[in-house]
Subunit: 237 residues, 2 copies
């Protein structure tokens, strides 16, 4: 296949780096189109594992420095997976719901954190940043391939799909200090967009929550507020 610089409109994307590709091979092998490896790749444990998994799963492994160099920003990228974009269904367990997140670095960091705190279901509402952008894939360090995610146009559509979930919208003017919140399963942590947060209508969809902070800052960064929410919900167990 012809390797072209990634665009959102494509139905495929790239996973760069040995460990993200190992996760791709382990968790989303059915979506793999092909794997590229550089001629200069050493025989580190990671590279060996890529080769073993490709063989085991019958996936083509192509040596091509140029293909990788066309896409990778970092010089020391030796392995690249090309995969079809895919949809997943959510599985049992709690949800993280992000409303129109725009910053790819934030989304990547959040996906890695949610997996760290055993949240495996991500819901994206409205027009969010492209979850398959190679930058997001890379910043999740492979975690993207281990979680489930689903898009909805509106929070109402999501809510009617999951009527039993207790919603906890995080808002600067939330009604309850996060330290006093009991997260009743199954639940959804709901976070607004980087610049606007959640508007006041979200107060009515569930138990609104605030993270107390000093008046020296307007708000916490989205990835930080979300991670503290995920941590607080998991620290109670």
């Amino acid at each position: 296949m012809k390797i072209k610089r990634y665009q959102k409109k494509y139905d495929f994307s790239y996973a760069l780096g040995t460990y993200p590709v190992i996760d791709l091979l382990n968790y989303r092998a059915n979506e793999i189109i092909t794997i590229f490896i550089k001629s200069t790749a050493d025989s580190s444990e990671g590279v060996k594992e890529v080769k073993r998994l490709c063989k085991e799963k019958g996936i083509s492994l192509n040596v091509s420095d140029r293909s990788i160099e066309k896409i990778a920003v970092k010089e020391n990228t030796y392995v690249m997976g090309v995969f079809r974009k895919y949809d997943t269904e959510l599985e049992e367990g709690n949800h993280l719901v992000l409303i129109e997140p725009r910053n790819m670095g934030n989304i990547g960091t959040i996906i890695r954190t949610m997996l760290g705190f055993s949240f495996k279901n991500l819901v994206l509402i409205g027009s969010s940043a492209d979850i398959f952008d190679p930058m997001v894939v890379r910043s999740t360090m492979g975690a993207l391939f281990r979680i489930n995610f689903k898009h909805y146009n509106t929070i109402q559509q999501y809510m009617s799909g999951y009527p039993k979930y207790n919603l906890y919208p995080f808002m600067l003017e939330g009604a309850k200090d996060i330290r006093e919140v009991e997260f009743k399963e199954p639940f959804s942590i709901v976070q607004g967009n980087e610049s606007r947060g959640l508007d006041s209508s979200f107060k009515d969809i569930g138990q609104s929550v605030y993270i107390p902070h000093s008046e020296d800052i307007d708000s916490l960064n989205l990835a930080i507020a979300t991670s503290i929410g995920l941590w607080e919900a998991s620290r109670r167990k």
Copy 2:
């Protein structure tokens, strides 16, 4: 003065954006060389406040679109402060200690979070990313100007300067679950570098701490782990 693209070796730097410049004017006015404003700047509350503060403090305000366009990446930057790099002393209160942090986005996010949780003293050990890089300044959203920070070459030098501080190094193999840690004031939260964390010698400098997470990820992102540490220390109050 001639405006040139920022370099680490310069003894001055730039604060971009209305609100970071307001913080610069309020907290580090003595370090300001000059303020630039675009001819197209509207008369929003923020811009009015910049003008008022410049007048009050006798700081020159120059209209120059070109100066700002040379430095700013974002088109909608209307105000830029040029300031001398400065040193500060630490003040009373707890410390955040970062060992050789490299990622500027991480440092910016961490500075904003520490201020949010009322930590006002940042210690940087060894060769860290440039805290005055305009990218860091911008990502702190002005918080940089409200905190104190100090560089040390080694953790030993820092420790001999602050012998009464109780150290809490954060490590994957920390001895105590963060939920069980009592942070005894005055204390220092110590975080390692993005890729290496802290080596095992740090276990002996204080009460080592770990943040429990699933085995699905190797580690939390530095900004996330640090923010959870700051939050946990402040949530106990």
